[in-house]
């Protein structure tokens, strides 16, 4: 479909009314799958050539779904959506600042912050995780564009994004008015993230009933939910390793492991993948240490296989001959999570001693914390045999 613009002379100064379809080369049939690392989407070739790709960054609250009834208010939030948008390379010469975009949001990532409420909502299958584990959005067009400001480093727009929202196996068109800001990299802006940024803020209403959800009798859930969006995109892909000491292929696999465990909540697939990866990196101290640390340290992982973590950490410690304070501290943390406070104290002490003067205050504070808990505990479990 060719792109075309209709300009209404009488409204030229106030608004540019545009209905833009994707150029035929850029048309995408469905939301692209996740990338190999899983922290973004596989951007189609057509979109890579269309313009500058901006990748959705993980944030505290990207999406908030809220509904209110007479007696209850539900707010589900998530910072685990992945996706991208495409903006023209030469924005100042472009008629439309947003050319394409797609997002995936894992249903399991939406939560209220209360375990009990989340269990109840899961029981209702409100979001249809069993039918379609990820809510999807695919942009199909843009309209009602207003350019609000064009400055040296910032471009601001108001526009309406049209797209297909997919959930519970059903796709519906939605219309989302957004404020769009393109923030070029400045030293100030880089305190948030590297690269140029696109920020999309907007909200729309969605009815679970339109996506086939039927309420159970007696369950009071509002017919309409409000979806609030605060999406920050950057030209730096979350899949790209920044530390040149780590090979990109390793980084991709470690991200994949994290995606399975944390974002998709699939521990069976995750630990299977992780075990295969450990075999590949069995002689790589850094990789082993990172895998152990991921299991025990990353927030929001529901099932932590401490045996897996200990296996990786012990091997890393063996290879580094007990001389890496970070690895010693990871082992201490694993023992702590296992409930073996005596061992936690012992290994954290080794970490602090190994780091010596370079030991951060946090390492010493953790040691004191373990020691305090060990003293309080009257029942220290025997050291498990990892």
């Amino acid at each position: 479909m060719l792109a075309y613009v209709v300009t209404l002379r009488s409204f030229r100064r106030l608004a540019l009314v545009a209905l833009v379809g994707l150029v035929s080369a850029g048309a995408v049939a469905e939301v692209p799958p996740r990338s190999e690392g899983g922290q973004t989407l596989e951007v189609p070739e057509a979109h890579l050539d269309l313009g500058q790709v901006y990748y959705l960054l993980r944030g505290d609250t990207q999406v908030a779904l809220s509904s209110e009834t007479r007696l209850a208010r539900i707010v589900l939030t998530s910072g685990r959506a992945v996706g991208y948008v495409v903006s023209p390379f030469d924005l100042e010469d472009a008629e439309v600042p947003l050319l394409a975009g797609a997002v995936r949001l894992p249903v399991v990532s939406l939560g209220t912050g209360s375990g009990r409420s989340d269990r109840n909502i899961r029981a209702l299958d409100l979001l249809g995780a069993a039918t379609q584990p990820e809510i999807t959005f695919e942009m199909t067009g843009v309209r009602d564009l207003v350019t609000e400001a064009v400055e040296e480093d910032v471009f601001k727009y108001r526009l309406t994004v049209v797209g297909k929202l997919g959930g519970r196996g059903i796709a519906k068109e939605v219309v989302v008015p957004v404020e769009m800001t393109v923030q070029l990299a400045t030293w100030n802006a880089m305190s948030r993230t590297m690269g140029d940024m696109v920020i999309l803020k907007g909200n729309f209403e969605v009815k679970p009933g339109d996506f086939g959800w039927q309420p159970e009798e007696g369950v009071e859930i509002a017919e309409t939910f409000r979806a609030d969006l605060f999406l920050v995109f950057s030209t730096v892909s979350p899949d790209k390793r920044r530390d040149p000491r780590i090979r990109q292929q390793q980084w991709t696999k470690e991200l994949r492991f994290l995606t399975l465990l944390r974002d998709l909540d699939d521990p069976e697939a995750g630990y299977d993948y992780g075990r295969a990866y450990l075999r590949e990196v069995w002689d790589d101290v850094g990789a082993l240490a990172r895998m152990a640390s991921t299991v025990v340290d990353q927030p929001d992982i529901r099932r932590r296989d401490l045996g897996f973590a200990m296996q990786a950490a012990r091997r890393a410690n063996e290879l580094s001959e007990g001389k890496e304070g970070g690895i010693l501290a990871t082992m201490a943390q694993i023992y702590y999570e296992m409930g073996d406070l005596a061992a936690a104290v012992e290994w954290q002490k080794k970490a602090v001693d190994q780091l010596g003067e370079d030991a951060p205050d946090s390492a010493r504070a953790i040691l004191e914390s373990y020691q305090g808990e060990a003293k309080k505990s009257a029942d220290i479990a025997p050291r498990p045999d990892p």
Partner: protein, 424 residues
């Protein structure tokens, strides 16, 4: 190539054949007749005089002459005759290494303590990033933490040295000092930054300070030597300052302060001797610009001709061919091969296909080495880059500009060094 088979030089047939073969050998660069004595090569602009490179490679890539372990670091390789020199990091030490160019065998190593500076940001690893410079029988090296040495090229013996941190109170930049020394007549010039000592010239013979000049911030970008209306100048890019200095005295000849965001520059500037256009590019919060330097009423005046955010070169280099500058644009995001019109800043093309890359200009072609270790030979034009051959020659991260001597290409990453034959 001069025809030496005239009657003046007529010999017996076998001798004539030998002479012919010898001349052919020189033309093909089979012997290391050329040198690569400094960062950026003979003219510090990444252009090689070699001709006759192959336009296609076997499936496995160009012939590997030798490959060996090297060590950590980003310093490029300099070559003088049968030996090549570079620098690596080993624990808390810097090491200057000399290898046989023909075999890769170690000739000598000189190792010295180079403890990491307190202000060092470990993101890129501590280098060394600066490339040695060769002058006569001496090799000049400077590490990431400003230990500066003159070594005997044949033996590696340290002839004299300076610790600029201890002696002059200079703080190296946060990623470690990366600018490469510039040799000028009997001087060797560094750009460490600082109050009244931003640019320092040392005598090659004994390391005495010949002059210190300017108060500019430290820089990662190497200085260049330029002929500006018949006058030789060192051109530096330091923080937001762009300046030309008299290389014999350090006297400031011109200065231009550009936008405040232009403070972190790795890439080396390109000087156009015909049109006095100075092209520079950086990433992060800046972009590319051209400054025109002209002499007016006996004084040098510099003005910014254009500035554009469309090409942002991180720590790679750029090549100017005619009216176009070719580079790899992008810092932590995707990288695009791009060309800009050097006179207007207009984008000529933007092309995917390579990760962040470095280039050499050889006989109208570009040799491209990207950070993922892919090597290619391509023909550049304002319409795009036509790749003739491509091969994976190194494991990532390959951030070092290659070195070409004759048809032998030397490439390195943070672990190994490889010599490749790019001849026909």
């Amino acid at each position: 190539m001069t025809d030496r088979t005239s009657s003046t030089f007529r010999r017996s047939l076998p001798t004539a054949i030998l002479i012919g073969l010898f001349m052919a050998g020189l033309a093909l660069g089979a012997a290391p007749a050329q040198q690569w004595l400094q960062w950026g090569g003979p003219n510090r602009d990444f252009t090689s005089p070699t001709q006759g490179l192959a336009q296609s490679w076997p499936e496995e890539g160009p012939r590997v002459l030798w490959r060996r372990d090297l060590g950590d670091g980003y310093a490029a390789i300099v070559v003088d005759g049968d030996h090549l020199f570079t620098m690596i990091r080993r624990g808390d030490n810097d090491v200057v290494v000399a290898l046989e160019a023909g075999t890769g065998k170690t000739v000598w190593e000189t190792e010295y303590a180079a403890p990491i500076a307190p202000n060092f940001h470990p993101g890129f690893a501590p280098g060394p990033s600066s490339t040695p410079a060769i002058a006569g029988d001496r090799l000049f090296t400077v590490g990431g933490f400003l230990q500066f040495h003159a070594l005997d090229k044949a033996s590696g013996e340290i002839l004299w040295s300076h610790d600029l941190v201890e002696e002059m109170g200079i703080t190296p930049p946060g990623r470690g000092y990366a600018a490469s020394p510039l040799v000028y007549r009997d001087l060797v010039i560094l750009t460490p930054g600082g109050e009244d000592k931003a640019v320092i010239a040392f005598r090659q013979a004994d390391g005495e300070v010949a002059w210190k000049s300017q108060s500019f911030p430290g820089t990662y970008s190497s200085p260049v030597l330029a002929n500006v209306d018949g006058e030789e100048q060192i051109i530096v890019t330091m923080g937001s300052e762009r300046a030309g200095l008299d290389p014999m005295t350090g006297e400031l000849r011109w200065r231009l302060t550009v936008r405040e965001e232009a403070t972190t520059v790795f890439s080396t500037q390109l000087w156009g001797e015909q049109d006095h256009l100075l092209f520079g590019s950086s990433a992060y919060a800046d972009g590319s610009r051209v400054i025109k330097v002209a002499k007016k009423d006996g004084k040098f005046v510099a003005e910014e001709l254009w500035y554009s955010r469309k090409m942002r070169i991180h720590h790679g280099n750029a090549i100017r061919i005619g009216d176009y500058v070719y580079g790899s644009s992008g810092d932590f995001g995707p990288a695009f091969l791009m060309a800009l019109n050097v006179r207007t800043g207009e984008v000529a093309f933007r092309q995917r296909g390579f990760a962040k890359a470095n280039f050499l200009h050889v006989d109208g072609k570009l040799i491209i080495l990207d950070e993922e270790g892919d090597l290619a030979i391509a023909t550049p034009s304002p319409e795009g880059i036509e790749v003739h051959a491509r091969a994976h020659v190194l494991e990532p991260t390959a951030w070092t500009v290659p070195t070409l001597v004759g048809t032998r290409l030397f490439v390195r990453n943070r672990e190994e060094i490889v010599a490749l034959d790019l001849g026909s």
